[in-house]
Amino acid sequence: MLADASIAVTTRSTPPPPPRRRFRGGGGLRGHEGAAGWLFITPMVVILLVFLVIPIFMALWVSLTSWNGSVNPFSGGPGAEFVGVKNYTALFAQDGLTRSNFMQSISNTFWYVLFVVPLQTVLALGLALLVSNKLLKAKGFFRTTFYFPSVTSSIAISTVFLFLFSNSGAVNAFLKLFGIDGPQWFSDSRGLVHLLFNAVGVDNPAWGAHDILGRSLWDWLSGPSVAMCVIIILVVWTTSGTFMLMFIAALQDVPVDVEEAAALDGTSGWQQLRYVTVPMIKPAIFLVLTLGLIGTWQVFDQIYVMGKGAPSGTTLSPAYLSYQQSFGNFKYGSGAAMAFVVFLIIVVLTRMQRYVLTDKDERRSFRSIFQLGRRKGASS
């Protein structure tokens, strides 16, 4: 085949051959393209259909059954009865273990997303600004260092963090140097917000008993558990490198004269960042936020390695719960239903982001914001 390549190249470099077989007209140059086109995409179409599109519809069906894994899922007989939307209502409307686990996983992940997305965005932007600094030498070294965690296996990194945050690990040993007794990270189920409340003397107050979807308001407000905080730190640490690269690319597109003009006007570094740089890289910020939202709602690998939901279910995520319900408890219908709910959450969040993004492209001015406000007001 290499020989073929060289032949093709030499053919091109020689003077044009006499016009013997010129493909023209109906059966000519474009004529074979229809068949070839389909031939070229057939492997892709087959694989994506068989292992992605059709399975999703199979799983949609299974989510409407009580399939337990032992019989043909499409038989409709015992072990695979059609149960309608029962698996979905069990997640929202029915008191029970399934709902309380699912709502706990939603609550955990909500807090997780609320911490991870802003932190990774700010850290990524900060690193990008540092690395893009014109005064800096050895840019490449720092960029490589910060990006490296992003390309390594999430399982391997989680293993390292399990050791770092273990009771006898480096983090607690480091804290001890300053006389601080670190927590038992992976067995500490106390929520951060609860700890804050406790610090001001509030613990499980009467107003917190209010029930929302089978979970008390106080429990919803717990904040991420100490164990979840380790996963938050880990994920922020691994993902910010990728997002840093996106910010670096965006910062390169900021015209130098705009920055110089701002500097001549005597703006401080902070003002320049706030009023010049950030507005100019807004598309990149929205992109990072969107990708962050999509990624964080799916957290799975780190949960699997770092405790599988322990302690007290405070690190359960819907993705992991869906896996556990299917492959651990053999309730595939329920597990599939959970996965589709997460899917829906991600789609809705992405749509909301996209809505904001397209708005951005209209070159936002005070007037368009005003119009947006009116439009929203009119539609409600």
Partner: protein, 284 residues
């Protein structure tokens, strides 16, 4: 920027970068160092970056006929096999499809491309049960076929290749076609050699993706060593399914072994990685 550079700002800049560099590198240093420690040294001196005593026990357990009964050779073999086959197949099939979607005119092209974009936006978490269902239905559960076949095409890779071909001028191919080369011949001998940068990026993304793959293997295999890769094996070791106790040096050694191939590739071909990250960003 003003013409005068304040030395204090310069010092602060480097101090901040040094601090972050330590934070980003330290876990990897711990990973390397601890794999040469003894179990008790790892637990008693977690901050020390010098193994005392220096121990090769972990690496003997992994590569030699040591005391460990862990099936590292099988894991390594599976990882190399699966990542190798997936990478080669994926690069070829993705570029075939990307080329067709970019260059060849055929009925339904617009629809297929729209479908690829739609498929790309399906979050992986929604695919765990679906993949298991299909693999089960086809009777290939717990086989290499189930591990490899679903991964040989990825929509994002097709998208990257299509974008690349869109950016390349068409004139050279047309010259080849005028000379009477077939469509496949033109693709293979003229187009692919020109697409080298994109192919390298795609190779890296495919290898990194399949080497680090976890959830797919988790749901299409039984989890016995026979079909475990380094990553799924490490996950079962770390999450305590193999009853291995703490044994941090062994676990971190295994983690390091899992990290090395991608790390080597990364340091050798950084600029392509960085390009891949930004291409991936466009898709979102």
């Amino acid at each position: 920027m003003t013409s005068r550079v304040s030395p204090i700002r310069q010092v602060l800049l480097y101090a901040a970068l040094a601090l972050f560099s330590v934070l980003f590198l330290y876990p990897f240093i711990v990973e390397v160092v601890t794999s040469f420690k003894t179990d008790s040294d790892a637990v008693n001196h977690p901050l020390s970056v010098i193994p005392n005593p220096f121990s090769m026990a972990t690496w003997q357990a992994i590569f030699g006929a040591g005391s460990s009964s862990l099936p590292f050779p099988t894991w390594i073999k599976n990882s190399v096999l699966v990542a190798g086959v997936v990478t080669v197949a994926r690069v070829f099939l993705d570029s075939l499809a990307g080329y067709a979607l970019s260059r060849l005119r055929f009925k339904g092209r617009g629809f297929v491309f729209a479908a690829v974009l739609a498929v790309m936006s399906v979050p992986g978490v929604a695919l765990l049960v679906p993949k298991f269902l299909m693999v089960n239905y086809l009777g290939i559960f717990d086989t290499y076929t189930a591990m490899i076949l679903p991964l040989v095409v990825d929509a994002a890779g097709v998208f990257i290749m299509k974008q690349f071909f869109d950016s390349v001028p068409i004139s050279i191919e047309e010259a080849a076609r005028m000379d009477g080369a077939s469509i496949f011949r033109t693709f293979w001998s003229v187009v692919l050699p020109m697409a080298k940068p994109a192919l390298i990026t795609l190779t890296i993304l495919s290898f990194q993706g399949s080497w680090n793959e976890f959830t797919h293997f988790l749901v299409v295999t039984r989890g016995t060593p026979e079909h475990q890769t380094l990553v799924t094996g490490l996950a079962s070791l770390t999450s305590g399914q193999l009853g291995s106790g703490t044994q941090y040096p062994l676990k971190l050694g295994a983690a390091l072994l899992t990290t090395i191939p991608v790390a080597v590739l990364f340091f050798a071909l950084q600029r392509y990685f960085i390009r891949g990250a930004n291409d991936g960003g466009v898709k979102g």
